[in-house]
Assembly symmetry: C2
Homo-oligomer: 200 residues x 2
């Protein structure tokens, strides 16, 4: 029985499994055994890398969720001159991808936020930081759009960014429950109409 230590690998395996299980089951509903099973790691290893379930949860927010927002929203948006068009395109891509998978799991950030923000101040603070990152990123993109003339000058970038994020979360939440393509199309239509109203 030969064993080789690779602590960073097991740490990442734990984070990944924890993220997925928390996404699908919720933080409190998921048991450490679930995470250990999914990651093929033992309890001793888990408690070597993370002091508690809470610490693991915090790390998921700080490391996984944070990266997710950057990779899925902020970085793609940076490649567009017109942030409104960028948003519409990113969303369209996502809808295509969602149709393929069974993914009615909702937004991981929204899920965790709704569950934990009133129960654990540490979670709330960390999740809020992600929201700030997200909103500020969108606001910066809108400002950029105002400078290059693709976004109305009268728009308040930060306020619009806040409403955009809240809409995205609201839509994903409603779809998660209804599982209805019609509702999805309806929400998208309303949302796109709002986005169009921001164009210069």
């Amino acid at each position: 029985m030969v064993r080789t230590y690779s602590p960073e690998k097991t740490r990442q395996a734990l984070l990944k499994a924890a993220f997925e299980q928390i996404w699908k089951q919720g933080y409190e509903a998921v048991s450490l055994d679930d995470i250990l099973k999914a990651s093929e790691v033992t309890k001793g290893a888990l408690y070597h890398h993370f002091g508690s379930k809470q610490a693991l949860g915090y790390a998921v927010v700080d490391e996984v969720l944070c990266a997710e927002v950057r990779e899925r929203w902020l970085e793609p948006l940076d490649t567009f001159d017109n942030p409104i068009e960028g948003l519409i395109q990113i969303l369209s891509e996502m809808r295509k991808a969602c149709h393929e998978k069974e993914s009615y799991c909702g937004c991981p950030l929204n899920n965790l936020s709704q569950e934990m923000s009133n129960k654990d101040e540490g979670f709330r603070e960390r999740l809020q930081a992600i929201y700030v990152l997200w909103i500020d990123g969108f606001a910066a993109a809108l400002k950029r759009g105002q400078k290059n003339g693709t976004v109305k000058a009268s728009v308040n970038p930060w306020a619009a960014a806040s409403f955009i994020v809240s809409s995205l979360e609201g839509i994903s939440g409603l779809i998660k429950n209804t599982r209805s393509v019609e509702v999805q199309e309806a929400c998208a239509a309303g949302f796109f109409a709002y986005l169009e109203s921001l164009k210069a």
Copy 2:
């Protein structure tokens, strides 16, 4: 020690306590003991009225949440000729009321929906029925507005109603986490701007 039986009263006490505790803590996080303590009912009585925790949860959705949507949204909206103005007024009233209480608990429907819709199909179906009730109610009000000339004829009532509900849930969810008045004002501004665009 004189005792008097009033089964309907204890049933309602259980429903009320369950609703509040589920709202504040979440369905899985709340223990039956919490509900029993809050309602001052014993476990024997609970299991006399409800076959299981699940049955109690279902009843909360069917009876309490359903009534809540009617009383807080649909009935008030029926008193307005202009449904857009009606929505804006109802929301403004709510915001005032929210400032007084500490209420950062979010929307009870949204909370439960995010937590349970992927774990328990019975919950999902029941919660979806509430969403349908809500959206259809809004859609009917918009149609009414179209007939009396307060809402643009080009608006698709059902699609707009879907987006409005998703926005309300999204905003309440974001505020629940950020607890920021600025974010609240920003989202409200964006939302009201959308509502105005529906006016004839």
